[in-house]
Symmetry: C2
Subunit: 159 residues, 2 copies
DNA sequence: TATCCCGATGAAACAAACTTGCGTTTCGCA
DNA sequence: TGCGAAACGCAAGTTTGTTTCATCGGGATA
């Protein structure tokens, strides 16, 4: 459980705006941009990492470059919404590497998945494993991405 | 346009696996993990960044910590699929900060959006701007995320 | 088979960035 | 007015990133 965050001031937000665009930016440059010394920047970053405001620092890999050029969305509807079955589904989706993102949602579906695969054959095999293999999936709808218009985990920051 | 990548060997893939989990890992440690010297690691990373295999280095921000606790999926169906209108929609979605991800897809919808907002009021306002404001949106379906089961841009890497 | 060339490597030197300690300032509150 | 907590900047120390350079194969060619 992340420690509660004591709320962020405008310095923190300005720092976050930079880091979520490029976290290799030197603290010195960040400092110049926000009018703070490098150590001050460093302390704030450290605090936000410890409190969970910054959830991670990662390199973004181009899927096509590593043989996973196809992105697919799937809406999954379950037969039963018993808690244990929901949890079992969450667990299975989480453990599947091809499932890049998984959300439990309200509405006409129960889950929405973002899946990354090498080709449609791989997707077909995955559906067999994840959906047909489970007798708790009532149905699922597939959307193949023709264009990844905007991709990222960037969050809009308040002013 | 990213320069073509000459294909990656097992060293590159091992390095990528580490970086997409934590890109603050020192090159020295990466070197130990993959049996390479730090300079060798550094050259490979640099090359992969230049060829576009590594598309970015970013901090992941917890949306709830910056006042955007609600994640919403939207399937958007357009009235017309004329190229210019598609492109106009792509442009508008790309420019909207609350639209974190946008995909142009095949199937029963034209676009799938991942949206981040502070509350349902903000979402309602956004729908007015993006969908009702445009007379090219035939309909849209909303899915509110109750649980962000798995989030990230991690790509499965070949062995 | 010998030779040349190319690309990648590791060791070491170097530069840059990160991190810590410390004295000072600021600000809220008694 | 005085006290304490929190944050600051500076400067020193440490770690990390980067460049240089000599060397090591692997392949193509003669």
């Amino acid at each position: 459980m992340p420690p509660s965050s004591p709320s962020l001031d405008s310095f923190d937000l300005a720092i976050l705006a930079i880091l979520q665009r490029d976290n290799t930016t030197p603290q010195r440059l960040i400092g110049e941009a926000v009018n703070l010394s490098a150590p001050a920047v460093q302390r704030r970053i450290k605090r936000m990492e410890q409190t969970g405001v910054v959830a991670g620092n990662v390199a973004i890999i181009e899927p096509a470059a590593v043989g996973q050029p196809i992105t697919i969305f799937v809406e999954v509807e379950l037969e039963s919404e018993r808690t244990e079955l929901i949890d079992a589904a969450k667990r299975q989706f989480s453990q599947t590497p091809e499932v890049q993102q998984c959300y439990y949602v309200t509405g006409e579906a129960d889950f929405i998945l973002v899946i990354t695969v090498a080709d449609m054959g791989a997707y077909e095999a995955l559906t067999r494993k994840l959906f047909f293999g489970s007798n708790n999936v009532r149905k699922f709808r597939t959307f193949v991405a023709m264009d990844r218009v905007k991709v990222g985990l960037t969050v809009p920051l308040p002013d």
